[in-house]
């Protein structure tokens, strides 16, 4: 990698790190982060494919309340860098498959870094308290921006370190991996998406909505249906169900007429 690419990779990593906590623009999602790293290193197509594959695994990863999910930012950035390094000698397929497998342990490492940053942020808000005491707007703003910067550095430093490792070492490592290991990790990669989906299901599942899961599962076997078509189906089904449920509630009510405009009109006659 040339120095300009490395610099740009570190910038992308910085943005991914900030977004890992802010969760607004989604620069930390693999689909975006891997694509950007692919672009700045001259391997856009491979970056996009890696991003798409990782995104499928990371779909259900979300920070809820004070809980922290596996860290998509470090997983996406670090595995994209490893892939780019590996592309030099290993073939594209192997480089992508191996970096997907490496993404998972990396997401765990990222988790600890996030928790570390969230702890360091405690004294930072105490400095904000002190600034608030003097009505020092600048002080409050500065500490807020520093805290965000800290989250950016959380990913930027590991990314810079990975860039420094010589490409030969990465490819040697990739090539040294026996077929059963890389093949097995690819098999595992096909299965781990289930964990993310299970996390989503556990958040939303009630006995009432399980039938909709079954509908989606069965209908997805029709390969003619694109995801957009499935989305349209899902929205329609949700609207129809909610509408019918409202009707049922009104019908099952005491017949007082308040929720039933047609009944009111008939009664008035």
């Amino acid at each position: 990698m040339n120095p300009i690419s490395i610099l740009l990779v570190v910038v992308v990593a910085f943005f991914a790190g900030m977004e890992g906590i802010l969760d607004e623009f989604q620069f930390h999602q693999p689909l975006v982060a891997c694509t950007l790293i692919g672009l700045v290193t001259g391997h856009p197509t491979e970056g996009i494919i890696l991003g798409g594959s990782l995104q499928m695994i990371a779909l259900g990863w979300a920070n809820v309340g004070a809980a922290v999910a596996p860290d998509a930012a470090l997983a996406a950035v670090a595995s994209a860098i490893i892939m780019v390094k590996g592309l030099g000698s290993a073939d594209t397929q192997t480089a992508i498959a191996t970096s997907i497998a490496l993404a998972v342990p990396l997401s765990v490492a990222g988790l600890f870094l996030t928790m570390l940053c969230r702890t360091i942020a405690i004294p930072m808000v105490h400095f904000m308290d002190a600034a608030a005491e003097d009505a020092n707007f600048r002080g409050v703003e500065m500490w807020q921006l520093l805290a965000i910067g800290l989250q950016g550095i959380r990913i930027a430093i590991p990314a810079a370190m990975l860039c420094m490792i010589p490409a030969e070492a990465v490819t040697a490592m990739l090539n040294a991996m026996p077929a059963w290991l890389s093949g097995g990790m690819a098999v595992g990669g096909g299965m781990v998406a289930a964990v993310g989906y299970a996390m989503v299901i556990n958040m939303m599942a009630t006995p009432e909505v399980w039938p909709f899961f079954a509908l989606g599962f069965v209908l997805a076997s029709l390969s003619e249906l694109t995801l957009i078509a499935l989305g349209a189906l899902g929205v329609s089904i949700a609207l129809i169900y909610l509408g019918l449920k409202d009707l049922a509630k009104q019908g099952g009510g005491s017949g007082g007429g308040s929720g039933d405009p047609l009944g009111d009109i008939i009664n008035d006659y």
């Binding site: 308290d129 096909g190 989606g216 599962f217």
Partner: protein, 306 residues
């Protein structure tokens, strides 16, 4: 009093909305999103209060504990702006009232934001973009990025304005059925899509061969008797389209996977997902499950059954 009434201008409200995006920047284990919240309120505090004492009190007031979903926080900040405006104009709005509104709204709204944004909209847009990206198309990531941010920015701005215009009356809306309906609708859509994603993207393939049989003459392409040149290719393709993939070889190989697919396509993926649900409910960490699945994949490959 009407003469010198302070109003938050559109410009100030825009600034607050912009800064509100950095809400989680100083997320900490003590008071969570308090720093980001205060940071977002600064333009409004500057516009409303002129003395140092008032400004300092306002800053401290907005450094209290706060934590909710970063997007549905927008209507809350809208309401808070309305309250602060009334207070600056002399209305008796106590500190406790402001903190009470924040705390009272953040719980129920976070309950809507998580399922709607993290577990419905993002998986759907993410899966849509990712499925395009797998073919190497830049449209995938672009679509995800543009659509997501358009939805997000529109939501942040319009719900903040909504909160600002209705002020405290929004608390009454919260107890109404609308939020419940949105959550339920999102759960239905989310479950439907997750069902589809489990079928499409969780892949388990069992490779053991169940049976190998010699096919009857005519059920396979007799490669040696094809005419030479392009005529032969044409004939082979015609035969292939009528015989299907089994026509390529003399032997018909049936794998365990083919048998399972006849039963219910994707059954193994479904069972695996349900197993993960059970394990997660029992408190097994997702990280443990992920690592175990990789181990299973490697063992499966070593023992040649996957």
């Amino acid at each position: 009093m009407a003469e010198n009434e302070v109003k938050l201008s559109l410009g100030v409200r825009r600034k607050v909305c912009w800064r509100h995006q950095f809400l989680q920047g100083s997320w900490n284990y003590e008071r969570m999103q308090n720093g980001g919240w205060c940071y977002a309120m600064i333009p409004a505090i500057k516009a409303l209060y002129k003395t140092k004492e008032e400004q300092s009190a306002a800053l401290k007031r907005h450094l209290e504990f706060y934590n909710t979903h970063p997007y549905v926080s927008a209507p809350i900040i809208g309401v808070t702006l309305a309250l602060e405006e009334e207070r600056a104009n002399g209305a008796p709005v106590e500190d406790q009232a402001i903190q009470g509104v924040k705390v009272g709204m953040m719980g129920p709204l976070a309950g809507v934001g998580d399922p709607v944004f993290w577990f419905t909209v993002r998986p759907i847009l993410g899966a849509l973009g990712a499925s395009m990206a797998l073919t190497g198309s830049i449209v995938g990531p672009l679509l995800f990025f543009v659509l997501w941010n358009a939805i997000r920015l529109a939501f942040l701005w319009y719900t903040q304005e909504f909160g600002y215009s209705v002020g405290t009356t929004i608390a009454k809306d919260l107890s109404g059925g609308l939020l419940g309906k949105i959550t339920e609708g999102a759960s239905i859509l989310g479950m439907f899509i997750i069902g589809a994603l489990v079928r499409r993207w969780v892949s388990i393939t069992f490779t053991p061969v169940v049976s190998t049989i010699q096919q009857a003459e005519g059920a396979y392409i007799d490669w040696s008797s094809l005419p030479a040149g392009s005529e032969g290719i044409k004939q082979a393709l015609e035969l292939y389209s009528s015989l299907g993939p089994n026509g390529l070889n003399v032997e018909k190989v049936t794998t365990l996977q083919a048998n399972l697919d006849q039963l219910i396509p994707g059954l193994a993926a479904l069972l695996l997902t349900l197993l993960c649900c059970r394990l997660l409910k029992k408190g097994v960490s997702p990280i443990t499950i992920i690592l175990a699945l990789f181990a299973l994949g490697i063992v499966g490959r070593l023992l040649m059954f996957m």
